[in-house]
Amino acid sequence: MRSVKADPRHLLSIADLGRDDINDVLSTAETFEAIGEREIKKVPTLRGRTVVNLFYEASTRTRVSFEIAAKRLSADVINVSSSASSIEKGESLRDTARTLRALGADAIVLRHPAAGAPAFLARLTDACVINAGDGAHEHPTQALLDLYTVQRHFGRVEGLRVGIVGDIVHSRVARSGALGFKRMGAEVVLIAPPTLLPLGVDVFGCRWSYDLDAEIDGLDVVYVLRMQRERHREPLLPSEREFWDGYALTRERLARVRPGGVVMHAGPMNRGVEIDWEAAESEIALIESQVSAGVAVRMALIYLLLGGQASGEVAS
């Protein structure tokens, strides 16, 4: 992979990828998506390679998506979760990394509640490390599959107006998304009440706003974030009702989305908190497309990180 970062073995942050890298992933994913439509959804590309899903946080879609992706590439997939392993006995990430190295893992997909855990792991292992979500830091494969979904739907990312709405400060999806969409030429606006925007938000180099109602009819993509109450360590909002009133994607706001506009959400959704039932179920919601794009994009990423070439020949 043509990478702008120092160590091209890993994917720790979406910022590690240049525009060409992202295009490589997206075009390779397209090839792999075709495989998913065949009766035999499997290619022998990574036979004999081992991919470890190391999950320190509960996850359904991300873990399953990575598992399916690696299996369709014929890799051996091992799932390690914190509740059913030595991690529960107090084994440190350092020692777990050593164990996995000794067992010959080629790639480690890490989901961890602590921001920066993948960067720490990457210093300890020869394996390729893929960040599958670290604390409130980043979720780069989510950004890639979101870009893929948008590219698929609109035929382009460049020039689209993307509004990321809600609990920005606690959201790894927002961080990777803002950086990823911006890199691919979209115009990003972060929309949240001030207590849910990080101090220093200008570092993302995009516009931000406190007023969803003033922004919504200008957006091509309304990206709704999950309200991450479990990460709130102090009261940041007077009530959920106030958030609903100002920032949730209600059916009334949905009606104001411009023709051709879409709704996205990385899941899991809190219906009734940041999005209402009608908006989540609406025809312009791409939520299921996001999930199905996840497999192809993760196949592409694992394939490229483990040494494959970006081309159309992988599916043969």
């Binding site: 440190s92 350092r94 920066g116 961080r175």
Partner: protein, 431 residues
Amino acid sequence: MILLRGGRVVDPASDVDRTLDVRVEGSEISEVGEGLSADGAEVVDCSGAVVAPGFVDLHVHFREPGGEDAETIESGSRAAALGGYVAVCPMPNTDPAQDSASVVEYVWRRGREVGLVDVLPVGAITARRAGLELAPMREMNRSAARVRLFSDDGDPVPTASLLRRALEYGKTFDAVIVEHAEDPSLRDGLMHEGAVSALLGLRGIPAEAEEICVLRDASLARMTGGRLHIAHISTAGGVEAVRRAKAEGVRVTCEVTPHHLALTDDSVRTFDPSFKVAPPLRTDEHVQALKAAVADGTIDAVATDHAPHAMHSKDREFEYAPCGMVGLETALGVVLAELVDAGICSLTRAVELMSNGPARILARGEYGGPIGAGHAANLVVFDPEATWTVDPSALASRSRNTPFAGRKLRGRVVHTMLRGGFTVREGEIAS
């Protein structure tokens, strides 16, 4: 009898900076002058080196009792002596806390037994450092350890009312109340709050956490007439608050660490826990404000906040790692680079910040010079041109959590002398 011959004597107390010989007899300096004859003394060639008052560190953590896997009074003393220190003040966040005469005397006596540096324990302000009631400060002051500095370091005194009482009560024995100034409700974070924390998704600690606490503390020092010292100051707002309080005649001093002068929150971008510290590394804007405060005299001392942590606790996910960095063995090189080479202040002023400045806060005349006949021979001799590369595994400390690993430093201690005896000779612990 020892004759330190031909060194550049830099003595802030007497404002001397010139080549002189220093004769040491017993525990004292007996003569300072040009071209002194050996007269049977052992001659130590100091040409090319700086002879200065031995360094004093108001802020270290030696972890004994309770945390001996990270540091002991012995290993910490070795690190201190190698760093050119003759006196260090270990903070009371030990286990048990240094909150009674028996614990401070234990620490002080262990320091005497090791004999490499004077170990002058800081007493806790509150019992068990729990922030609820005053510890027996007077008893600690009257103990053999003669405690003058009191702190709940690691935490600020949580309430204004309790800090007020500590400042008032301490007046009878001229206690110095040393505050870890971070507002308790704003310090629930992992790094400085700003652009980098926004990018990394790490909970931030705003600079205002310090500024607000310094303002509170200075107001109470003004009200009570008590003696306040702000530990490890790290922000523009913090030093400005101290500057104003000093101008109003408030009895307040402050210290800065080498790492807050040398590093910014940019270092955290790699999530390397070596850069996790409290207060956190700030932005360059704050670093420049600290340097300006060194230049204009607002900052009184450099203190290392030497905070050893065992690898198993420190070398892990950034969020879970404890705060702190070792600093005794790198302080001189970092201070010379950041203050003298950078043109912020003279070598004399840098030496003052590491010796005479902190000695005045301690009110112990045996440290900090002057380098003159009849004064205690507590001295450091360092080669200001010697360059070396920081190797964590080569540190004398039991811990390796230096943020300066791999950094090339200029300036290295050659000899350290405590009451006329070498504790370090030719860069090695003297046996």
